[in-house]
Amino acid sequence: MTDAFDISETLDVKGESCPMPVVKTKAAIDDLGADEVLEVVATDSGSMSDIDGWATGTEDVQLLDQVEDGDVYRHYVEKTA
Protein backbone atom coordinates (compact mmCIF):
# COMPACT_ATOMS: atom_id res chain seq x y z
CA MET A 1 0.00 0.00 0.00
CA THR A 2 2.89 2.36 0.59
CA ASP A 3 5.16 1.02 -2.12
CA ALA A 4 4.35 3.84 -4.49
CA PHE A 5 5.85 6.55 -2.31
CA ASP A 6 8.46 7.09 0.41
CA ILE A 7 7.24 8.31 3.76
CA SER A 8 9.25 11.23 5.09
CA GLU A 9 7.57 11.60 8.47
CA THR A 10 4.96 9.79 10.54
CA LEU A 11 2.53 11.67 12.77
CA ASP A 12 0.92 9.67 15.54
CA VAL A 13 -2.44 11.10 16.59
CA LYS A 14 -3.86 7.86 17.97
CA GLY A 15 -6.42 8.57 20.69
CA GLU A 16 -6.92 12.15 19.63
CA SER A 17 -10.25 13.39 18.38
CA CYS A 18 -11.60 16.22 16.25
CA PRO A 19 -10.16 18.73 15.47
CA MET A 20 -6.67 17.60 16.55
CA PRO A 21 -5.86 15.08 13.77
CA VAL A 22 -6.40 17.78 11.12
CA VAL A 23 -4.77 20.54 13.14
CA LYS A 24 -1.65 18.46 13.85
CA THR A 25 -1.52 17.23 10.25
CA LYS A 26 -1.41 20.84 9.09
CA ALA A 27 1.42 21.65 11.52
CA ALA A 28 3.39 18.56 10.46
CA ILE A 29 2.93 19.33 6.76
CA ASP A 30 4.27 22.84 7.35
CA ASP A 31 7.52 21.30 8.58
CA LEU A 32 7.96 19.17 5.45
CA GLY A 33 9.64 20.08 2.18
CA ALA A 34 8.13 19.90 -1.28
CA ASP A 35 7.31 16.40 -2.55
CA GLU A 36 7.68 14.87 0.90
CA VAL A 37 4.98 12.54 2.21
CA LEU A 38 3.47 12.57 5.68
CA GLU A 39 1.89 9.47 7.16
CA VAL A 40 -0.82 10.24 9.71
CA VAL A 41 -1.84 7.45 12.05
CA ALA A 42 -5.18 8.07 13.75
CA THR A 43 -7.86 6.19 15.66
CA ASP A 44 -10.56 8.83 15.11
CA SER A 45 -12.93 7.35 12.51
CA GLY A 46 -13.93 10.89 11.54
CA SER A 47 -10.38 11.46 10.33
CA MET A 48 -11.17 9.57 7.11
CA SER A 49 -13.60 12.25 6.01
CA ASP A 50 -11.89 15.15 7.77
CA ILE A 51 -8.39 14.69 6.37
CA ASP A 52 -9.85 14.11 2.91
CA GLY A 53 -11.84 17.36 3.22
CA TRP A 54 -8.87 19.24 4.59
CA ALA A 55 -6.58 18.05 1.78
CA THR A 56 -9.19 18.97 -0.84
CA GLY A 57 -9.67 22.46 0.58
CA THR A 58 -6.02 23.23 1.21
CA GLU A 59 -3.47 24.42 -1.32
CA ASP A 60 -0.23 22.58 -1.99
CA VAL A 61 -1.24 19.28 -0.41
CA GLN A 62 -2.49 16.10 -2.01
CA LEU A 63 -4.04 13.11 -0.34
CA LEU A 64 -2.35 10.06 -1.85
CA ASP A 65 -4.09 7.29 0.02
CA GLN A 66 -6.18 6.38 3.05
CA VAL A 67 -6.08 2.93 4.59
CA GLU A 68 -8.34 1.49 7.26
CA ASP A 69 -6.22 -0.94 9.23
CA GLY A 70 -8.36 -2.46 12.00
CA ASP A 71 -8.95 0.31 14.55
CA VAL A 72 -6.28 2.48 12.97
CA TYR A 73 -6.69 4.87 10.05
CA ARG A 74 -3.61 5.69 8.01
CA HIS A 75 -3.50 8.74 5.78
CA TYR A 76 -0.77 9.63 3.29
CA VAL A 77 -0.50 13.29 2.47
CA GLU A 78 2.00 14.78 0.05
CA LYS A 79 3.22 18.34 0.23
CA THR A 80 3.19 19.32 -3.44
CA ALA A 81 4.90 22.70 -3.21
Binding site: E16, P19, M20, V23, K26, A27
Partner: protein, 191 residues
Protein backbone atom coordinates in the same frame (compact mmCIF):
# COMPACT_ATOMS: atom_id res chain seq x y z
CA UNK B 1 -41.72 40.02 -39.94
CA UNK B 2 -39.15 42.58 -40.81
CA UNK B 3 -37.42 42.30 -37.40
CA UNK B 4 -36.50 38.69 -38.22
CA UNK B 5 -34.66 39.56 -41.39
CA UNK B 6 -30.88 39.33 -41.25
CA UNK B 7 -30.56 42.98 -42.26
CA UNK B 8 -32.63 44.21 -39.32
CA UNK B 9 -30.64 42.00 -36.83
CA UNK B 10 -27.39 43.43 -38.04
CA UNK B 11 -28.68 46.93 -37.59
CA UNK B 12 -29.66 46.20 -33.96
CA UNK B 13 -26.46 44.37 -33.10
CA UNK B 14 -23.81 46.36 -31.20
CA UNK B 15 -20.72 47.16 -33.18
CA UNK B 16 -17.40 45.57 -32.40
CA UNK B 17 -16.17 48.84 -30.98
CA UNK B 18 -19.21 49.12 -28.70
CA UNK B 19 -18.64 45.59 -27.40
CA UNK B 20 -14.96 46.29 -26.78
CA UNK B 21 -15.89 49.42 -24.82
CA UNK B 22 -18.41 47.46 -22.76
CA UNK B 23 -15.80 44.78 -21.97
CA UNK B 24 -13.36 47.47 -20.83
CA UNK B 25 -16.06 48.99 -18.64
CA UNK B 26 -16.90 45.64 -17.00
CA UNK B 27 -13.24 44.80 -16.44
CA UNK B 28 -12.77 48.14 -14.69
CA UNK B 29 -15.77 47.39 -12.46
CA UNK B 30 -14.36 43.94 -11.64
CA UNK B 31 -10.98 45.43 -10.72
CA UNK B 32 -12.68 47.97 -8.45
CA UNK B 33 -14.82 45.29 -6.80
CA UNK B 34 -11.92 42.93 -6.14
CA UNK B 35 -9.41 45.59 -5.11
CA UNK B 36 -7.63 44.51 -1.94
CA UNK B 37 -8.81 40.94 -2.40
CA UNK B 38 -5.58 39.00 -2.30
CA UNK B 39 -7.35 35.65 -2.57
CA UNK B 40 -6.74 34.96 1.12
CA UNK B 41 -9.76 33.17 2.60
CA UNK B 42 -11.15 34.57 5.82
CA UNK B 43 -13.47 33.39 8.56
CA UNK B 44 -15.07 35.59 11.18
CA UNK B 45 -16.70 34.09 14.28
CA UNK B 46 -18.61 35.91 17.00
CA UNK B 47 -18.46 33.92 20.27
CA UNK B 48 -21.12 34.98 22.76
CA UNK B 49 -21.46 31.94 25.02
CA UNK B 50 -19.26 30.81 27.90
CA UNK B 51 -20.72 27.48 28.99
CA UNK B 52 -18.45 24.47 28.66
CA UNK B 53 -20.42 22.98 25.76
CA UNK B 54 -20.80 26.23 23.82
CA UNK B 55 -17.12 27.13 24.15
CA UNK B 56 -16.16 24.23 21.88
CA UNK B 57 -17.72 25.08 18.50
CA UNK B 58 -15.95 28.41 17.93
CA UNK B 59 -12.57 27.00 18.95
CA UNK B 60 -12.91 23.78 16.94
CA UNK B 61 -13.96 25.72 13.84
CA UNK B 62 -11.30 28.40 14.35
CA UNK B 63 -8.44 25.91 14.67
CA UNK B 64 -9.73 23.83 11.76
CA UNK B 65 -10.12 26.87 9.50
CA UNK B 66 -6.58 27.93 10.42
CA UNK B 67 -5.46 24.45 9.33
CA UNK B 68 -7.17 25.14 5.97
CA UNK B 69 -5.08 28.31 5.67
CA UNK B 70 -7.87 30.75 6.54
CA UNK B 71 -7.23 34.02 8.31
CA UNK B 72 -9.46 33.57 11.35
CA UNK B 73 -10.79 36.15 13.75
CA UNK B 74 -12.92 35.23 16.78
CA UNK B 75 -14.65 38.19 18.41
CA UNK B 76 -15.63 37.34 22.00
CA UNK B 77 -18.40 39.21 23.72
CA UNK B 78 -20.55 38.77 26.84
CA UNK B 79 -20.00 35.28 28.31
CA UNK B 80 -17.79 34.40 25.37
CA UNK B 81 -15.12 36.51 27.11
CA UNK B 82 -14.74 33.76 29.72
CA UNK B 83 -13.19 31.50 27.07
CA UNK B 84 -10.30 33.97 26.79
CA UNK B 85 -10.08 34.68 30.53
CA UNK B 86 -6.93 33.12 32.02
CA UNK B 87 -8.58 32.20 35.31
CA UNK B 88 -11.95 31.15 33.95
CA UNK B 89 -11.18 29.26 30.76
CA UNK B 90 -10.37 25.96 32.49
CA UNK B 91 -13.32 26.35 34.85
CA UNK B 92 -16.23 26.79 32.44
CA UNK B 93 -19.47 25.23 33.66
CA UNK B 94 -22.17 23.18 32.00
CA UNK B 95 -25.66 24.33 32.93
CA UNK B 96 -27.79 21.60 34.48
CA UNK B 97 -31.02 23.37 33.56
CA UNK B 98 -32.52 24.64 30.34
CA UNK B 99 -31.50 21.66 28.26
CA UNK B 100 -34.18 18.93 28.20
CA UNK B 101 -31.64 16.48 26.76
CA UNK B 102 -29.63 16.51 30.00
CA UNK B 103 -29.81 13.31 32.04
CA UNK B 104 -31.25 15.20 35.03
CA UNK B 105 -34.74 16.72 34.98
CA UNK B 106 -34.85 20.52 35.27
CA UNK B 107 -36.47 20.33 38.70
CA UNK B 108 -33.47 18.33 39.97
CA UNK B 109 -30.99 20.36 37.93
CA UNK B 110 -32.17 23.52 39.67
CA UNK B 111 -30.99 22.23 43.07
CA UNK B 112 -27.91 23.95 44.52
CA UNK B 113 -24.65 22.43 43.29
CA UNK B 114 -26.14 20.58 40.34
CA UNK B 115 -24.18 22.63 37.80
CA UNK B 116 -21.03 21.32 39.47
CA UNK B 117 -22.29 17.76 39.13
CA UNK B 118 -23.19 18.02 35.43
CA UNK B 119 -19.95 19.90 34.71
CA UNK B 120 -17.93 17.14 36.42
CA UNK B 121 -19.80 14.53 34.34
CA UNK B 122 -18.99 16.39 31.14
CA UNK B 123 -15.35 16.89 32.11
CA UNK B 124 -15.05 13.17 32.80
CA UNK B 125 -16.47 12.39 29.35
CA UNK B 126 -14.05 14.85 27.75
CA UNK B 127 -11.18 13.12 29.54
CA UNK B 128 -12.41 9.60 28.73
CA UNK B 129 -12.71 10.45 25.04
CA UNK B 130 -9.36 12.23 24.84
CA UNK B 131 -11.19 15.28 23.59
CA UNK B 132 -9.01 18.38 23.66
CA UNK B 133 -9.73 20.73 26.55
CA UNK B 134 -10.85 24.31 25.94
CA UNK B 135 -7.46 25.54 27.13
CA UNK B 136 -5.64 23.22 24.71
CA UNK B 137 -7.81 24.35 21.80
CA UNK B 138 -7.26 27.98 22.69
CA UNK B 139 -3.49 27.60 22.93
CA UNK B 140 -3.37 25.58 19.70
CA UNK B 141 -5.44 28.22 17.90
CA UNK B 142 -3.20 31.02 19.18
CA UNK B 143 -0.13 29.13 17.95
CA UNK B 144 -1.79 28.77 14.53
CA UNK B 145 -2.28 32.50 14.25
CA UNK B 146 -6.00 32.77 15.03
CA UNK B 147 -6.78 36.30 16.18
CA UNK B 148 -8.86 36.37 19.34
CA UNK B 149 -10.55 39.65 20.16
CA UNK B 150 -12.17 40.64 23.46
CA UNK B 151 -15.01 43.14 23.11
CA UNK B 152 -14.10 46.26 25.06
CA UNK B 153 -17.65 47.21 26.01
CA UNK B 154 -18.35 43.83 27.62
CA UNK B 155 -14.91 43.71 29.32
CA UNK B 156 -16.04 46.80 31.19
CA UNK B 157 -19.63 45.64 31.62
CA UNK B 158 -18.47 42.42 33.28
CA UNK B 159 -15.82 44.15 35.40
CA UNK B 160 -12.95 42.36 33.74
CA UNK B 161 -9.53 43.85 33.19
CA UNK B 162 -7.61 43.83 29.92
CA UNK B 163 -4.83 41.93 31.72
CA UNK B 164 -7.22 39.09 32.61
CA UNK B 165 -6.94 37.60 29.14
CA UNK B 166 -4.41 35.34 27.50
CA UNK B 167 -1.32 36.89 25.93
CA UNK B 168 -2.03 37.53 22.29
CA UNK B 169 -5.69 38.39 22.81
CA UNK B 170 -6.61 41.72 21.22
CA UNK B 171 -8.54 44.16 23.42
CA UNK B 172 -9.85 47.63 22.68
CA UNK B 173 -12.15 46.51 19.88
CA UNK B 174 -15.87 46.91 19.35
CA UNK B 175 -18.77 46.09 17.08
CA UNK B 176 -17.46 48.16 14.17
CA UNK B 177 -14.26 46.12 14.14
CA UNK B 178 -16.30 42.92 14.14
CA UNK B 179 -18.59 44.19 11.40
CA UNK B 180 -15.69 45.19 9.17
CA UNK B 181 -14.15 41.80 9.74
CA UNK B 182 -17.39 40.02 8.85
CA UNK B 183 -17.81 42.13 5.72
CA UNK B 184 -14.42 40.93 4.46
CA UNK B 185 -14.88 37.30 5.48
CA UNK B 186 -15.90 34.35 3.34
CA UNK B 187 -17.54 32.66 6.35
CA UNK B 188 -19.30 34.47 9.19
CA UNK B 189 -20.69 32.67 12.23
CA UNK B 190 -22.45 33.74 15.40
CA UNK B 191 -22.06 31.20 18.19
Amino acid sequence: MSADTPDASEEDAPTRAELAARVDELEAQLDAATEGDDGQKKMSIIATKGTLDMAYPPLILASTAAAFGYDVTVFHTFWGLDILHEEKTDDLKLSSVGNPNMPVPNVVGALPGMDRVTTAMMEQKIEDNDTATIEELLETSLEMGVEFQACQMTIELMDYDEDDFYDGVTTGVGAATALQDMAEADIQLLV
